[in-house]
């Protein structure tokens, strides 16, 4: 899917020749220390940043030069590391925005009025209680965990085939992450591909069967979580002393 992708910012090689393949119905974790290029990789795959070299191929189509919107239309959705809701809009209206996209219109029709119901269903799916005040509150008044779940609902509204979640679990309470893990597992079961950029390894390993470790923009390891975490270079580059605590 991703072939020898590189991106340089100034003199920094943010992503340096990373190749990665994700199959339908597979969840892959991307881990690595801060500044190792994880988010840049997500930006490259979703089209927010153009690569200097390398290719991005989605379902057999080369999308390296495709726009963000074109990629969404093909079924690629992403969440942002820092939630970027539409602060002035109530939570459920936030979800209406992606429901106006071309991909959603092809699925739901262009008619007015039915989107609110779909939006409420999606919010319920990510753990908003249906009649709770949170649904109608402006996003600016929601706590962090809700904003993260709102991001997820915004992505799910696009019915993604490939979903890239950038640190979805960060800042969430253990109860909140625990409630989302079954949903993520179900998405994978439905045949969707998941790419999770995470620091919270214990939760991550409940979802993914394979992890990729980045360090200074390079892929230094890939494989089953337990095997990867056992490797000396991964411990050295990333985890230092905390490996026993999280693995």
């Amino acid at each position: 899917m991703v072939d020898r992708l590189s991106k340089q910012f100034g003199g920094v090689r943010a992503v340096d020749g990373v190749s990665l393949q994700v199959r339908p119905g597979e969840a892959v974790g991307i881990i690595g220390p801060n500044g190792s290029g994880k988010t840049t990789l997500v930006n490259l795959i979703t089209g927010f940043v153009r690569p200097d070299s390398g290719r991005v191929v989605f379902r057999g189509v080369d999308i390296t030069r495709a726009s963000v919107e074109a990629r969404v239309r093909m079924g690629i959705a992403r969440s942002f590391q820092t939630p970027r809701p539409f602060y002035r809009l109530p939570a459920f209206r936030n979800v209406i925005i992606p429901l106006c996209s071309r991909r959603a219109r092809e699925r739901l029709g262009s008619g007015f009025g039915r989107r609110e119901e779909v939006a409420l269903d999606l919010l319920e799916e990510v753990g908003f209680e249906r009649d709770a005040a949170a649904v109608t509150k402006p996003a600016s008044e929601l706590p962090h965990g809700y904003l993260k779940r709102l991001e997820l609902a915004r992505c799910l509204a696009l019915d993604p085939q490939l979903l890239l979640l950038d640190e979805l679990f960060s800042g969430m309470s253990p109860a909140e992450t625990a409630s989302l893990i079954p949903l993520l597992l179900r998405l994978v079961e439905e045949g969707r591909s998941l790419v999770l950029v995470e620091h919270r390894l214990a939760e991550l390993f409940q979802v993914v069967g394979r992890v990729v470790v980045l360090d200074f923009g390079r892929k230094i390891a890939e494989g089953h979580p337990a095997d990867v975490m056992a490797r000396e270079e991964v411990r050295r580059a990333y985890l230092g002393g905390e490996v026993s605590a999280s693995a």
Partner: protein
């Protein structure tokens, strides 16, 4: 022995709001009237005024024509502002509408009505294409470009003497009688005010609001921001280009003054005065401002002082805009009901 009847105050629209928060379930004519009354009254006033020519005299009928034109320009400005495109050069649309109508009628020999329509739609499309490259600019940068463009056009016309140079394009035949022009503008204004408001209240309007707040997430939601903004400019420019087109046929001439700063400042001021949150607010602002500025004509240049004083006063005391204030108060009207 009857117990004394106690009273409490309740809002007039309480019954309506209680039944549903934002979907109106109307029970009976009084409630329909309460909600629709102001709109119907305003629309009625606009439709009736041209009929009162004998009573008002020609002068105030012309003021009315100019006022409706500026209301259109103000609605256009407010719509674009709602999409996050703050224009400091609305005379661009206004002037383009006028010049294109003149060209359509003088060079292409189209009949006046067709020329006005061509001028309106063509100018809106032309301006949208012209602005397309700068739509990606955010905030003040877009405003600066719109500020520069009408100035640039005026200077180009002056320097190269194209489009009649400083003399302008004269000899534009009038579009029917004064009433025809008035009603064309009034119909345009009513459709623009209510149509654009409806658009903003729809799901697609939600997307437009969202683009203003956070265009990165809108893109991540699979919506091509550039195209949507382009569409918004195209639709939002129409009222202003219509005003320019009709006024050109009214004055029989269109000149560089169509790109003058006045036509950029007035819509903006009107929208601020009335409250740009609602399309009707901008229209109300212009409806107040144009006659006011006529009344102050006797003061000569001092008029500007009074004009600025009013503006500053409104901005300081009613920052939400007069219309928004009145609308809020209207929905707070109370009546006495027995407990």
């Amino acid at each position: 022995m009857t117990a004394p009847v106690a009273y409490r105050r309740e809002r007039l629209d309480r019954g309506i709001k209680v039944r549903s928060d934002d979907i109106f379930a109307l029970a009976g004519w009084p409630e329909i009237l309460y909600l629709a009354g102001p709109r119907v009254a305003a629309a009625g006033l606009l439709l009736v005024f041209p009929l009162l020519r004998n009573w008002t005299g020609d002068y105030w009928q012309t003021v009315f024509l100019v006022a409706v034109s500026m209301m259109l320009a103000a609605v256009s400005w407010a719509f674009l502002e709602n999409v996050g495109l703050v224009s400091l050069g609305h005379s661009l649309f206004f002037g383009a509408g006028g010049y294109l109508t003149a060209i359509a009628v003088l060079d292409l020999r189209l009949p006046p009505l067709l020329a006005v329509l061509t001028g309106t739609v063509g100018a809106a499309a032309g301006c949208a294409v012209l602005l397309a490259p700068v739509l990606r600019l955010r905030g003040v940068y877009f405003s600066l470009v719109t500020f520069a463009l009408p100035l640039l056009f005026a200077r180009v016309i002056e320097a190269t003497k194209i489009l009649g140079g400083t003399e302008g394009l004269a000899g534009i035949p009038g579009l029917g009688s004064l009433e025809v022009r008035q009603y064309l503008l009034v119909v345009g204004l009513l459709s623009a005010t209510f149509g654009l408001q409806r658009l903003l209240d729809s799901d697609y309007g939600l997307v437009l609001h969202a683009i203003r707040d956070n265009d990165l997430s809108v893109r991540a939601s699979g919506i091509p921001v550039g195209w949507w903004k382009f569409g918004a400019v195209l639709v939002g420019a129409l009222p202003a280009t219509l005003a320019g087109a009709v006024l050109a046929t009214h004055y029989h001439v269109v000149g560089m003054s169509a790109f003058a700063l006045d036509y950029s400042v007035l819509p903006l001021t009107a929208a601020v005065l009335g409250g740009s949150g609602a399309m009707a607010g901008a229209a109300v602002g212009a409806a107040l401002l144009v006659p006011l500025s006529e009344l102050l004509r006797a003061f000569g240049t001092l008029r500007v002082v009074a004009y600025c004083a009013v503006l500053v006063l409104v901005l300081v005391s009613v920052p939400e805009g007069l219309f928004s204030l009145v609308r809020r108060r209207y929905h707070q009207f109370e009546r006495w009901v027995p407990l």
